[in-house]
Symmetry: C2
Subunit: 373 residues, 2 copies
């Protein structure tokens, strides 16, 4: 049996260190249940990376949602995408008719700067916080294909321009290539405006069996794999092989190819991440990602907009909440509810979330979901 | 399709603060894969409560287990029982043929004493760490039924006597009723020897489709529900209603009743927990749990041994690892591999894990699994 997305919701995205995770979760849940037009659910599949044990239960109890199974997942940045993937299978197998998916993360009260590596990690001790990991992705990419720093900056410029059209974005202003390149160097070649911001937010979606409601969005496919923490033996940039294999699984299940997809939400935690994602997802060949963004192909109004929401670079990246935020954008786009950032005639959307890697978040997992079709 | 347990394994249980979680996990995984006689798996369903993000991936990568989906669950004390429950459904629905389940917890490096409540919890600020929660269970029980402190102590005496026969137990020595009652008062009426110890350990199980191997143990049923953090409106002791409803679900699925079960592993985090569990699981009526233990009914050699492993009171309670430790005991018992603590002729075993409650572990979830039959 198919599974459909009935409704989605999010809290405010931003630095809100005084607001507890359960409070954020309640904002997202209330919006999602209202959007889905349901008043009861059979199970909750929640996710958080750094949240205290039972964060989801605390939010749910206050809303009177108790007595049903409540599961909490952790899968690094792919945490709530993983919850959605599992919820979809629970619906498809007939276990549940309606599952509430939930992502919750409060980061600004915990992290002053980038996520801190665990001291037991060899990579962590070597200083490989996530900006460093992605800087090495860029270095590897440069070695393989050459790397135009203008193209890297163009990803940030594009996504911030999209985000300026998204009232939910944490950073809602446009930036120029010059501003991006002149912003503080974080990990060469990634400047500050090429790095997503930490955030506090929660996200929710209601998944269920087909019910004949035209606002519901079909989940045509979802795929999940975990990979090497650190792809020592790959010739590709970190994450490429994993993203490509998961995308291949998802395309096979959906019976479509990259060229048939109208818009993408991908994991642009850092600008280079979007470039490798567009290649791994098959929008272009390896090495073609820079030209792809410079050509306008992936800009709103182009043939295949990537991150019409503004992506993580605009929205902010509350780890466990990000996946369902991407799903929410896909749903709004396919319903035609995306307002000023609407992709005209959108029928199929792909969402890619890349989790972890090394140094503080040891997991490495990727989820690709195809919506619509 | 049914799901069977192919094999189980555990690390050493004990206070081993210098040993990282992934190292413990590897001990458990290697034993479980060998016991299962498999050399590949389709997915990993792991669990930890306080472990760093990606703890499971780090353990698995070092063993060369990559490329498959790796999920990590958190459900308080019921964490690895939840992983098993979900893995069973993934096998039953045909998604995977073989799933490795994993529970990992390192506590002694993090907690000097009892688990510390979150400062945002109303209950936490009121001092309701878990010993306090269970002390209030005992107080409520006393109000409802009267409470014989000798019976409470008898639970510890019985389980420590069982644990003395279990080479994997963290506390492998017998104790007397007098010693139990004379040990330091932790939260009236619960003395130190009535409280499980924190621990560092990992546990594993391989679950798969039926393959005709007589050593494999069928999972006849599994049930999971989450409840109120704190059962303000119940007239019963905390947790009773939830345990009873989950047990009812499991018995219904298995098509059997409590009297047909040969042995039980239940969540004796505190002595009163075993008394309420035996009542909720239907071994006796509410109020009968004290007499049940005093009569020898639940002692090895009695009609329905409870916690032949020694339970959490002997084994120690590494939160996320406990559920699969209970499952492992059930498997060993049903195979006739339990050595000096073997329940003769055991054919059906029930495992109950009660998670969380309040104050630092906000979740409240219960899992009941029926093995064999």
């Amino acid at each position: 049996m198919d599974a459909h997305v009935y409704g989605v919701g999010t809290s405010h995205f931003g630095r809100q260190p005084g607001v507890a995770g359960p409070m954020l979760a309640q904002q997202a849940i209330i919006e999602a249940l209202g959007d889905a037009e349901v008043d009861s659910i059979d199970a909750v599949f929640a996710g958080t990376v750094f949240g205290a044990p039972g964060t989801a239960q605390r939010a749910l109890q206050t809303l009177g949602i108790t007595g049903v199974p409540i599961l909490t997942f952790e899968n690094a940045c792919a945490t709530s995408s993983t919850a959605l993937h599992e919820a979809r299978h629970a619906v498809m197998s007939g276990r549940y008719e309606r599952v509430l998916c939930l992502g919750i993360e409060t980061m600004t009260a915990h992290f002053a700067g980038p996520i801190t590596p665990e001291v037991t990690d060899a990579e962590g001790r070597a200083g490989l916080a996530l900006p460093g990991v992605y800087a090495m992705v860029a270095s590897r990419y440069e070695h393989l294909h050459g790397l135009d720093r203008q193209a890297l900056a163009a990803v940030a410029v594009k996504n911030r321009a999209h985000g300026a059209l998204n009232p939910r974005a944490q950073h809602g202003s446009e930036v120029t290539v010059e501003e991006v390149l002149a912003s503080r160097m974080v990990a060469d070649p990634l400047t500050l405006m090429q790095c997503c911001d930490i955030s506090d937010a929660a996200t929710a979606a209601v998944i269920g069996v087909p019910r004949g409601n035209p606002r519901d969005v079909r989940i045509a496919a979802s795929a999940l794999r975990s990979g090497e923490l650190w792809d020592h033996r790959s010739t590709q940039p970190w994450g490429y092989d994993l993203m490509a294999s998961v995308a291949s699984d998802a395309y096979e299940e959906a019976g479509i190819g990259a060229q048939e997809i109208d818009l993408f939400e991908v994991h642009d935690a850092f600008t280079i991440g979007e470039i490798t994602a567009t290649e791994a997802l098959g929008l272009t060949e390896p090495g073609g990602g820079g030209e792809l963004v410079l050509s306008g192909h992936t800009t709103l109004g182009g043939r295949q907009p990537v991150n019409p929401s503004g992506g993580l670079l605009s929205r902010g990246h509350p780890l466990g909440a990000t996946g369902l935020a991407q799903i929410a954008e896909g749903v709004w786009q396919l319903r035609g509810e995306a307002g000023a950032r609407q992709v005209e005639g959108a029928r199929v959307a792909a969402v890619e979330t890349m989790g972890g890697g090394t140094a503080g978040i040891d997991g490495n997992g990727c989820v690709v979901v195809i919506l619509g079709g």
